[in-house]
């Protein structure tokens, strides 16, 4: 049984799209600006009204509470948002030291002021905040866009490990062909809200 099933998904300017994602599978998503990549991720996270059906391990999305679905099918927007002063206040459970270290942080980072973090630090912390509760599907919108090459490598390694160890599915929006080749086992290309090439 596939981990994530998408059947006839439509939302404004998008679809209908149908595809499946297996447990542990990594799917790269690309396409020009305005092709509907972010719209697709938002619809998968049930943040936008949409038509069609979504299911996680065979369980229809509508049979789960919306908050529960989003804890399992976790969406990382391209720009992270923060609403408390301290980094640590945004974590409902604390990340393991190994995870912090894998992204190049020491445990003191949780006491940092969000306002003093750089864009790249916020992007990595937002990713950490997303994966700490252990979601089964990750929907990542250009998660390394603001990072230097060293941190791109760190993030890619952490996410590949995460998918492998937990058999989590991954959908990764990227514009970089080299990165798509590194992280994607499959590759979907969107244009005008439709899949133009899929492997």
């Amino acid at each position: 049984m596939p981990l994530l099933t998408v059947r006839d998904l439509t939302s404004l300017h998008l679809g209908p799209l149908s595809f499946e994602l297996a447990a542990g599978e990594r799917l790269a998503l690309s396409g020009p600006s305005g092709a509907g990549k972010s719209l697709l991720l938002r619809a998968l996270a049930d943040l936008d009204p949409h038509g069609g059906e979504l299911a996680l391990a065979g369980v229809d999305a509508l049979r789960m509470r919306a908050a529960e679905w989003r804890r399992q099918v976790a969406y990382l927007p391209a720009e992270s948002a923060w609403w408390h002063d301290l980094v640590g206040a945004h974590f409902c459970q604390l990340p393991k030291p190994a995870e912090l270290e894998a992204l190049g942080f020491d445990p003191g980072v949780l006491q940092w002021q969000v306002a003093r973090c750089s864009t790249g630090e916020r992007q990595r912390l937002a990713l950490l905040r997303l994966i700490t509760p252990g979601p089964r599907v990750l929907l990542l919108d250009e998660p390394t866009a603001a990072l230097d090459p060293e941190n791109v490598t760190r993030v890619e390694r952490l996410l590949l490990d995460y998918c492998q160890q937990r058999e989590a599915g991954l959908i990764w929006v990227s514009h970089d062909p080299a990165q798509i080749a590194r992280i994607g086992e499959r590759h979907l290309r969107l244009q005008g809200g439709q899949i133009v090439t899929g492997t």
Binding site: R65, R71, Y75
Partner: protein, 269 residues
Amino acid sequence: MQAITLTPFDLSLAALLILLLAALSHPLRLGLERRLLLSALRTAIQLVLIGFVLEALFHYAALGLVALLALFMLLVAGREVRARQKRPFTGGWGFGIGVTSMFLSSFSVAILTLTVIIGPSPWYLPQYAIPLLGMLLGNTMNGISLALDHLTGEAFKQRATLEARLALGQSAVEAASDLRRESMRIGLVPILNAMAAAGVVSLPGMMTGQILAGAPPLEAVKYQILIMFLITAGTGFGTMAAVWLGVRRLFDERDRLRLDRLRAPAARP
């Protein structure tokens, strides 16, 4: 002591001050003269009309007529609540949320006061019922329009934050908790400020009116305290209801933030 009757000449002197202010606005390029004059004219016409209505109503003190005037006041207040928001809810909700919460709070507080606390006979005696309801509605309307304007305006501005919280698995109620608290606070600020300044900085309008009409100050003070408490309770309950309904409408049954349910502000040239 009898109140001193005002002559039309007295009122025209006061009107001269408004004209002076408007005349000053022109060379200073404040652009307020038109609005100032129209508002002053509107006030005068509305108050004269309500004066005639009250004269008639006091003469035929029928429950049906009192209820009709109360309904009219409620609907106008509902329209005003919507007009004061930059991004009101679309459809009937923009009007309905304000009207429902004002009805629930102002009317129940007014009826409770008339029947249990003041106890005129009959309980709907217009001399008591209409001014009481008017004060409650006016203040509740202020609180609700401020709170709803904050709620809808900030929901629009904080979209990224609200959706980030939803995306991390928070329910709509959790994601909107800070916004809800802040909207409540904003709605209650005017009445809290009024209570803090009452008697020290300003003599509240109702008490001033009673004193001018010849009532002993301590009697006027008792009424003013009663009214302050009622207004605070009415505004608080009304604002609470409006914010609760507003948050429910901002999110749908799948806890999605639905900014498409807000009307975009009219484009200004």
